[in-house]
């Protein structure tokens, strides 16, 4: 079988539909055995205004699986790596827990897992994706905020959204090339 | 979402109240010469229980069972007779049917073919309690 063109996984988030219900966060805990008190994904909340003119926004966030990930660049052992399909992972066996990557990540996406004694983060549920499934957070989301897919596939729903809607990425100035796309 | 029709019987007045109601509600019932207080009581009782007056006194729970056992053996979807549920008729129509006591074109009697007189009364109770014009508050959950 000939090598197919490399895939590039990414996620589109329609934050307006996010209701801060935490389904994604709990599903991630269950799927990935994430310890209590630390999180691979989160929902950022911003509130403003005075009664009764009020506003609140919810923005889900996790590892941006950047194109040019600073965490991978600073890793002294190669434990932090980027797959050909763009997914950024930490190889547990190679991680020495120096935490350089935690500091280097502009998105606060990484944390030190006290149970495994290595750095931990969102994997886009690579183990599920490799079986042809969706990441747990995407599958479980009640209000369907998240769309996951392959940027190189023009038929992917992700592609349709990015070609028809306005979007932004967070902190583009870091040059990391983040791959979480937030729709306006 | 998650609503489900309540199959429970309608509220029924206690036997004493029902008897009073029956007295006062029946046309030509003796009211003359009654003390005003008693009359007022009767009227009040009638008012309280008006939609519930003259219910037959069989068992609703058993009636449901015997209705399913005796009637639904034929009166079901793809059965040998037309589908029948309590909602198929109004309370008055059910009452009329049971008062006549005749089944089908042949007009056979309900007992013994469809049950003992007690069982038929239970079925009548169930059907009238759940007829298409009976009060049927729905419930939530199973």
């Amino acid at each position: 079988m000939a090598n197919p063109a490399p895939k590039r996984y990414a996620m589109v988030l329609d934050s307006r539909k996010c209701i801060d219900c935490k389904a994604c966060v709990v599903a991630c805990k269950a799927e990935n055995d994430v310890p209590l008190g630390v999180f691979r994904n989160r929902i950022n909340v911003e509130r403003e205004g005075a009664f009764p003119r009020l506003r609140v926004s919810f923005d889900p966030e996790q590892c941006h699986h950047c194109d040019n990930p600073s965490c991978v660049r600073v890793c002294p052992t190669g434990a932090s790596l980027q797959r050909e399909d763009g997914i950024v992972l930490v190889t547990e066996a190679d991680c020495i827990g120096c935490k350089y990557c935690i500091v280097a990540c502009p998105y606060g996406a990484r944390f030190f897992n006290e149970e495994t004694k290595v750095v931990d983060k969102c994997t886009f549920c690579a183990h599920r994706v490799d079986r042809g499934e969706l990441p747990a957070c995407v599958e479980t989301c009640p209000s369907k905020v998240r769309t996951f897919g392959d940027l190189t596939d023009p038929a992917s729903p992700l592609h349709v959204l990015l070609s028809s809607r306005r979007y932004r990425v967070l902190k583009p100035q870091t040059g990391n090339g983040p791959q979480l796309y937030y729709l306006y | 979402m998650g609503f489900r029709r309540n199959r429970n019987p309608v509220p029924r007045a206690s036997p004493e109240v029902q008897d009073l109601v029956y007295l006062s509600a029946r046309p030509g019932a003796p009211t003359k010469g009654m003390p005003m207080k008693a009359l007022a009581l009767l009227t009040l009782a009638a008012l309280l229980a008006a939609p519930l007056a003259a219910e037959p006194k069989g068992s609703d729970t058993k009636g449901k069972f015997y209705f399913k056992k005796s009637c639904k053996s034929c009166h079901v979807d793809k059965g040998s007779a037309a589908v029948l549920t309590p909602l198929s008729k109004t309370q008055a129509q059910w009452r009329k049917f049971f008062d006549a006591g005749k089944h089908g074109k042949a007009g056979e009697t309900l007992t013994p073919k469809f049950g003992t007189p007690e069982q038929i009364l239970d079925i009548k109770t169930f059907l009238i309690n759940h007829a298409s014009d009976s009060p049927q508050p729905e419930t939530c959950g199973g």
Partner: protein
């Protein structure tokens, strides 16, 4: 029948977009992936929506619950609570074997016993109560669940009239109001509605069901207009096109004014009203005084807005809905407020139309025939027949019942069996509930965890978790109706039993075995036989669900249609209400307002812990570590209270100490606290003595027609400690 069955195979839909052919892209580590493991289909138990799930089991342990895409009613999602259900199974504090109390009630001294001993003990107590007080001396209360039927049946077979279900703490007022109007309780087609008004039903925050998803889709993608009324700035308020912080208890005034405008300007659906309804002529006169100017004074919502909203609503016609649920009753006029909603919906003609209110369809199923028992001889202790003649008599009315039991009228009730319910937290005025428990000779509780109520019981029967048992097939009615099976996913990990076996154990000792002479498999088999699918039982075990994926509109819009009402028509004016001594059309009376220095306590839920029982699960608790008292910024400044200060909150029912949260997101005349904290049971370690329980403060009040508990009728004062 042209109903198309939704029988799609698992995995066939939805996932194709990400399928991967080649495992070559691995940077390091794992070998080529096996085909996706197939989960065991079953049905979530954590809320009334009963979503279909696929349980992923590894080495006899459930490690993940995924949504089952086959059930359109669960919209291929699983909320935070559904995901956290695994933690209930493996909760170290879970009830692991039957327990008999050895110390004083609430002292927490328990003796683990065998099932035989627990059954003998409880049956002895129940029989003794029956001997002394008759079967009516026992109370059987429960909350909905697929095995509730067995618990209820045990109480009825025992001969007690006092079967007390949860609706009078829940939706009894909604159900009754819509039943009295339409003869049934419809669903709301939020997927297709163009204009939605919601009052207090905080659907984006408190509770996640298909309605939540449909409305989010509607508001964000289809540009449906969404108007929301709530004294608090909730997540739902934040997503609405228009949010009004309405004065609490005045929803009825807002609705009546809307009806007034639509009637005055003849924006109603005349053809519909002529053909299907009775009493519109009486409504015309009835709403004449309820002008928008009048309503502005009551609600605080500008009359120009009420006028505009009424016009927009009527213009959206059959795609406009005033959404009914879900939420409990809040005020003593709740039934009439719901009736007004029903009437408002009715006059724009949204009945049984796409985007409107749609009568529920069902999936046919068989029924297991068991031996019926005699009807109880005694009347109910809550006197529902006398005082709430229109209410569902076999559900009962919780608060009036407690009043009677406390007074010992009309007769004494001395034994209380409780299934899957925590009255100390779910029923207002915890002090009174405790007093009621003190008066009992015997209390038995069936639950999966040591709830506060279980903590005060005499015997505790541990039930198997939903992932450990098979339940009856349940029909979930709706626009997209489904029949679902909950099947055993893993063997019980502790010495627990399903409710049916607990009922059977007691029945055997009470001489009632004949009524419970069957197994769950026989029960399910009888139900599966009449499902609209080949090999029903096999299908259900393999798929977990049979559902209709296509909505059907207009089935009741035919000339022969007889609505299940007294007149056979939709009843705008209700003779039956008049006969029962209630207003046949909704009449407004201004609610009592809190006296100076006091605040109205309002309640609410969060989707991570809608029901109090779930607050203890670590995955949910870490998002809600402690509840606090929301207090408006200006009021807090006046009282000298800052966020984090401890405050004493006092009502006539009780008093609690809790941290304050000073916020802009609530009206100045209200305070709010989240449900589910301040637990008395140390076996709920995350929430034991953490925060405060709202039930301590809530006073006893109920809706006049349905008897539903009115949860927003409590005024409190707040003092810095």
């Amino acid at each position: 029948m042209d109903r198309r069955l939704f029988l799609q195979m698992v995995g066939a839909g939805g996932l194709a977009a990400t399928s991967i052919a080649c495992p070559k892209f691995f940077g390091k580590g794992k070998a080529a992936a096996a085909p996706p493991p197939r989960g065991i289909p079953t049905t979530c138990e954590l809320c009334p929506n009963k979503c279909s799930v696929l349980a992923m089991v590894e080495k006899g342990k459930v490690h993940k619950l995924n949504p089952n895409p086959e059930n359109p009613k669960s919209r291929n999602m699983l909320c935070a609570r559904g995901n956290a259900a695994i933690q209930q199974v493996y909760d170290p504090d879970r009830l692991k074997q039957p327990l008999i109390r050895v110390g004083a009630r609430g002292e927490g001294k328990w003796r683990p016993v065998s099932w035989d001993e627990a059954f003998d003990f409880a049956a002895g107590k129940l029989a003794a109560t029956k001997a002394k007080y008759g079967p009516e001396g026992t109370l059987w209360s429960s909350t909905e669940g697929f095995q509730e039927v067995f618990f209820k049946n045990l109480g009825m077979a025992f001969g007690s009239p006092n079967i007390l279900r949860h609706p009078s703490l829940c939706l009894a007022s909604v159900n009754l109001a819509y039943s009295m109007t339409f003869g049934t309780v419809p669903s709301f087609d939020l997927q297709n509605a163009k204009y939605v008004i919601m009052a207090g039903a905080n659907r984006f925050e408190s509770f996640i069901t298909p309605d939540t998803m449909d409305l989010i889709g509607g508001v964000m993608e289809r540009k449906a207009k969404f108007v929301y009324l709530d004294p608090r700035f909730t997540v739902t308020a934040s997503k609405a096109d228009e949010w009004y912080a309405i004065k609490p208890g005045t929803d009825l005034a807002f609705i009546l004014a809307m009806i007034h405008v639509i009637v005055r300007e003849e924006r109603y659906d005349k053809v519909f009203l002529d053909q299907w309804t009775v009493g519109f002529d009486k409504l015309v006169d009835h709403v004449a005084p309820y002008t928008p100017d009048w309503a502005e004074k009551e609600t605080g919502i500008p009359s120009a807005d009420i006028l505009r909203i009424a016009r927009e609503f009527a213009d959206a016609g059959h795609r406009a809905v005033f959404y009914a649920g879900r939420r409990s009753s809040w005020y003593q006029n709740d039934f009439q407020m719901r009736r007004a909603q029903a009437i408002l919906n009715c006059i724009v003609g949204n009945w049984d139309r796409e985007g409107g209110m749609v009568p529920n369809r069902k999936v046919a199923k068989g029924e297991f025939m068991f031996l019926p028992w005699d009807d109880p001889k005694a009347p109910r202790v809550d006197e529902v027949e006398k005082n709430f003649p229109l209410a569902s008599a076999k559900d009962g009315v919780y608060l009036p019942l407690r009043e009677n039991v406390l007074k010992g009228v009309p007769y004494p009730v001395k034994a209380w069996m409780i299934y899957k319910q925590d009255p100390l937290n779910s029923v207002p005025d915890q002090g009174k509930t405790l007093k009621m428990m003190e008066g009992m000779d015997f209390i038995g509780v069936v639950d999966i965890a040591m709830s506060d109520t279980a903590w005060f019981a005499d015997v505790v029967f541990p039930e198997s978790h939903y992932l450990e048992r098979t339940d009856p097939i349940e029909v979930m009615p709706g626009i997209w109706p489904a029949a679902v099976l909950r099947q055993q996913v893993v063997k019980p990990i502790h010495d627990t039993k399903p409710c049916l076996e607990i009922a059977q154990g007691l029945a055997k000792r009470l001489g009632l075995s004949d009524y419970f002479d069957y197994t769950i498999d026989q029960w399910v088999e009888a139900e599966a036989k009449e499902l609209p699918v080949e090999n029903g039982l096999e299908h259900m075990k393999k798929h977990g669900v049979v559902a209709f994926s296509e909505a059907k509109y207009g089935t009741t819009r035919n000339a022969a249609q007889r609505f299940v009402t007294k007149s056979g028509k939709i009843e705008i004016f209700s003779e039956r209400l008049a006969e029962a001594g209630h207003d046949p059309l909704p009449v407004y009376a201004p609610p009592q307002q809190p006296p100076s220095g006091r605040y109205r306590m309002i309640l609410g839920r969060k989707a991570t812990m809608t029901h109090a029982a779930l607050a203890n699960l670590p995955w949910l608790h870490e998002h809600n570590p402690e509840n606090d008292l929301w207090l408006n910024h200006d009021e807090a400044a006046r009282l000298g209270i800052r966020t984090g200060d401890l405050v004493r909150v006092t009502s006539t029912a009780g008093s609690v100490t809790i941290k304050a949260r000073v916020t802009e997101e609530i009206r100045p005349d209200c305070v709010f606290m989240l449900h589910g904290f301040g637990k008395k049971s140390p076996w709920l370690r995350s929430v034991y003595n953490v925060g405060a329980a709202d039930s301590v403060l809530l006073e006893t009040a109920w809706d006049k027609v349905s008897g539903n508990a009115a949860m927003h009728e409590t005024f409190v004062n707040v003092v810095r400690v």
